[in-house]
Amino acid sequence: MAISLAGCATGRQPAPVEELGAPAGTTLGTPSQGGVPSAMGVPPTGEAVTIPLGEPGLPATAAGAPPGSGVGPAPANPAVVALLNDANLAMQNGRNDRAAASLERALGIEPRNAWLWHRLASTRFQQGDLSQAAALAAKSNSFASPDRKLQAANWRIIADVHRRQGEVDAARSAEEKAAGLEIP
């Protein structure tokens, strides 16, 4: 249902875009708690986002933390920044597939950029591909050290995935990990 609505929103496409490997029939939406992935979708101004990077998706609870503290692996590379902007724009327009493609291009340039993996995880979450969201968040964490904030954000995604899949204990344990990492 949600998928067909998304299809209408983008107008009539001559051919359906098919994401291979994406689970069929999963619902789209943002993760609960509004936190993690929402920080990325919308740039502060309508214009191009200059550097959306120092802020690895602040969870709602940590929103009061001073921005820039525990700065993530901010890509100084302007090419990566440009692609992130493209991804943001695509997401605003509901084109999650294009956002993912831009992020993958960025990963071609900076494959060890934990932030980019995190963004890709969020995008997959929004596409409703829960298992990929969790796996990509874990992948992000494999590069994220020592950025605790980013690690926490990844654990939040993993927790959200577990919750959606009805795995209450696993969700709670992931949240505890996130909370532990959020303590300065």
């Binding site: 001559p14 994401e19 340039i109 060890r112 992948k139």
Partner: protein
């Protein structure tokens, strides 16, 4: 087409003959004869009308249905250019040439100029999967092997993608090839040229033109041979489109009839567009070049819009006799006819005299070599095709004009090809056993971070399609299996660490048929108790078998499955030494998972597929599955760097730069039949197999054979040291390698080395230098090499 057309006529004929039986009586005869005539006329009229109706239906169905079979086009990955990107002038020039750019001028799109390290590029627009990249006036400045500055006009830009090189096509059965054009993509001057020469009254006639037929008739009589055709564009389309090439009156009539029907149903511009795409222009082996879009590429390596008047005139000249005027075979004839076309342009007042005179002075400008007809990379395209077959029907692959964007890196592909060909030749020279030209091999190269396949070499003659060893040579993998055994051990940190002593002691087992299995070490020695990582780095068979038996074969098999091996695995002890048959591609998948830190990503050769108009059809996104915990795979990765530092892979450093950290594993099978090496840096994984097609021994081990190819290849590729980020649950400790096992953990700091352990399972109390259990290995500077 032809047989279907024949049927109704035959039918009509039969009916006619049934009607004409001889008269019996004269009185009755006259009336009856009249009746017969009337009936005959009626029947003939009905037959003619139904024929016309049938023809009309066929013509419209043909015209409106899928009119053209367009081969699928396969592209390499686009080159991403951005400040800081590693790029040398030579590489950029090669990439530009591969993408169909011509050196020397930036006057037209598709041209570039190089002045030392600075490039000006008149970038073509290109429709990618995710949208149209606009044309640009690029300048790229390179310095020290990197992009220093990138600008569009005077404005600096952060990145740009070069249009990807076309590397192959999947043809329809009949070999027709074309690039479809919409009328608005065709330059007006080209249309003027075409109509001036072929059909001046095109916008006025109704399919056939008596005037031009008469004019042609007169001209031909004067000349005594056929110099002009009186066919309109519509008639020519009818001829090309629907009919067989015999020259008969019936065919001429049919052609005219179809032309009139076409004009009744369709707009002039629709007919013109169809003609522009249908016209037959050239032949290259089984490949038939149709339409002016492809003709421009075929002869000039350009898009139609980029052509100069003289070049347009040549293409129009070819319509009259594609083989007679073939400019590659008969340049004088072609030039003569081209100039004739230019004269007609002037005569008709389309272009002024000075212009045509200038254009006539130009050379033909035809490329000597036809740009990529048959594939240059059959082994890679074979993989692409197999991946596509899972999602597309064969007829769509062949005829629907799909555009397939792959992950092929043409430069690395060529490096891999030449590394393999050059090394196997040398190995044959150095060997008493190998006959010249017999040693075969395969290479698969991937980007470790995304599991994208960058290159596939299926044999020592990479241009020859045929047995694709990279995909189809399924061979025992020998010691390449060992990392799975050691990983299975390291996944139990309570029992095993990198320094756990294991026994390199004799093994004698009875297999299920009662046969004794008693493997030996490659060097025929026994090494006693060795640290676990040494068992791997020195590839000790007995230590590995003892370890594997302790773990249990099912556990090892299960680890292999998690690494991405999908074939059913034998469940007997010899599998611990690689009695498992895999193709080089399957081995690549297994090592890809190790190189990517335990994340399994299915190897990808395709990124996107779009339809003929560039609308996206399928995207193959990056998917990962964490199939091995990060800690154990990190320890395994460390042990595999030890293979290169001090084990069976160390001879690679005769070529590799000393500071480049690599990880890998050799593999050798019984009687030296197969020689394997699988190894990776931070960003590149390459798997090499060498062997003979008849499976006879080569005399080469993994070290003396495949590793040679691998180190030649990797030393020529820009890549970075394999220095993965240590997971949070990994700590480093100093240990002294030599005495482990015999005397416990002694600490002689001069010999000691730091090894990773799963936190909580590291040895205690060792301090050499400023040890800090949390610090990862000292990073070595990444090397840029070309």
């Amino acid at each position: 087409m032809a047989p279907r057309r024949a049927r109704p006529r035959k039918h009509a004929g039969k009916r006619r003959s049934r009607q004409s039986s001889p008269p019996v009586r004269v009185a009755f005869g006259r009336a009856r004869r009249r009746l017969v005539v009337v009936w005959s006329l009626v029947v003939a009229a009905i037959a003619a009308a139904s024929y016309v109706l049938w023809l009309d239906r066929t013509v419209t169905a043909q015209f409106e249905g899928r009119r053209w079979q367009v081969p699928a086009r396969i592209y390499a990955r686009p080159l991403e250019i951005y400040p800081g990107a590693p790029l040398t002038p030579e590489v950029l020039a090669t990439e530009l040439e591969a993408a169909g750019y011509q050196s020397g001028s930036v006057e037209r799109a598709g041209g570039y100029l190089r002045r030392g390290d600075a490039f000006s590029i008149n970038l073509r627009g290109f429709r990618f999967w995710d949208g149209e990249d606009p044309p640009r006036q690029l300048s790229v400045t390179l310095k020290d092997g990197k992009v220093q500055r990138l600008a569009d006009g005077t404005r600096n830009i952060p990145l740009v993608r070069l249009q990807p090189a076309l590397v192959g096509r999947i043809y329809p059965g009949h070999g027709e090839d074309r690039i479809l054009l919409r009328l608005e993509e065709v330059p007006p001057l080209f249309i003027k040229t075409l109509l001036t020469v072929e059909d001046r009254g095109f916008y006025r006639h109704s399919g056939v033109s008596i005037r031009s037929m008469l004019r042609a008739f007169m001209a031909n009589i004067r000349a005594g041979e056929t110099v002009q055709g009186g066919s309109t564009i519509t008639q020519q389309l009818a001829k090309n489109f629907f009919l067989t090439p015999e020259r008969t009156i019936t065919r001429k009539l049919n052609e005219a009839l179809i032309a009139v029907l076409l004009e009744l149903h369709y707009e002039k511009n629709e007919i013109l567009q169809a003609y522009l795409n249908e016209v037959y222009i050239a032949q290259q082996g089984p490949r038939a070049v149709h339409g002016f879009g492809l003709a421009a590429t075929f002869f000039f390596g350009r898009r139609l819009v980029e052509l100069k008047l003289s070049e347009m005139a040549l293409l129009v000249a070819l319509v009259r006799g594609p083989s007679y005027y073939n400019p590659r075979l008969h340049p004088e004839r072609a030039k003569f006819r081209r100039d004739l076309v230019l004269d007609m342009m002037e005569e008709q007042g389309v272009v002024p005299r000075e212009k045509t005179e200038a254009e006539k002075r130009r050379p033909l400008g035809v490329l000597e070599e036809v740009p990529v007809g048959q594939s240059r990379y059959p082994a890679f395209l074979d993989l692409v095709r197999r991946q596509l077959r899972r999602d597309y029907r064969d007829e769509d692959l062949r005829g629907a004009g799909l555009q397939i964007f792959t992950t092929l890196d043409p430069l690395l592909q060529r490096r891999a090809e030449s590394a393999l060909s050059a090394r196997v030749r040398q190995l044959e020279l150095d060997s008493a056993r190998l006959g010249p030209g017999t040693l075969q091999g395969a290479v698969v190269l991937t980007r470790t971070t995304t599991a994208e396949v960058l290159a596939v070499v299926g044999g020592r003659k990479p241009r020859e399609a045929g047995f694709n060893r990279a995909l189809d040579a399924v061979r025992p993998i020998g010691s390449l299996v060992k990392p799975a055994v050691y990983l299975a051990a390291l996944e139990q940190p309570g029992r095993f660490s990198l320094i756990t002593p294991i026994d390199d002691a004799p093994v004698r087992l009875k297999d299920e048929r009662g046969k004794i299995w008693a493997p030996r070490n490659y060097d025929n020695q026994l090494h006693g108790s060795v640290p676990l990582y040494v068992g791997l780095s020195n590839s000790y068979n007995l230590a590995t078998v003892n370890l594997g038996l302790e773990l249990g074969i099912p556990r090892v098999a299960e680890t292999l499955e998690r690494l991405g091996v999908t074939r059913p695995l034998p469940q007997y002890p010899s599998m611990l030494l690689g009695a498992i048959e895999l193709s080089p591609l399957e081995v690549t998948q297994m090592y890809q998972t190790i190189a990517a830190g335990g994340f399994l990503t299915p190897l990808r050769a395709i990124r996107e597929v779009t339809d003929a108009n560039g609308s996206p059809l399928t995207r193959y996104p990056l998917n990962v599955t964490q199939s091995v915990a990060p800690g154990p795979v990190y320890l395994l990765g460390h042990a595999l760097t030890e293979v290169m530092r001090s084990g069976t892979g160390q001879s690679a450093y005769r070529r590799l730069p000393e500071g480049l950290v690599t990880a890998g594993k050799t593999g050798t099978t019984d009687e030296l039949r197969d020689s394997w090496f699988a190894g990776f840096t931070e960003n590149i994984l390459a798997v090499v197999w060498l062997g003979l097609d008849d499976n006879k021994p080569t005399g080469l081990s993994g070290t003396t054979g495949a590793l040679e190819v691998w180190s030649h290849l990797v030393s020529g590729i820009r890549s970075e040291s394999f220095l993965p980020t240590a997971p949070d649950n990994v700590v480093f400790s100093w240990v002294e390698p030599v005495r482990i096992g015999s005397r416990g953990f002694g600490f002689n700091c001069a010999d000691a080395r730091r090894l990773p352990f799963i936190r909580g399972f590291q040895p205690r109390d060792e301090h050499c230098g400023q040890d800090d259990a949390m610090t990862p290995m000292p990073p070595m500077p990444p090397l840029d090499r070309h």
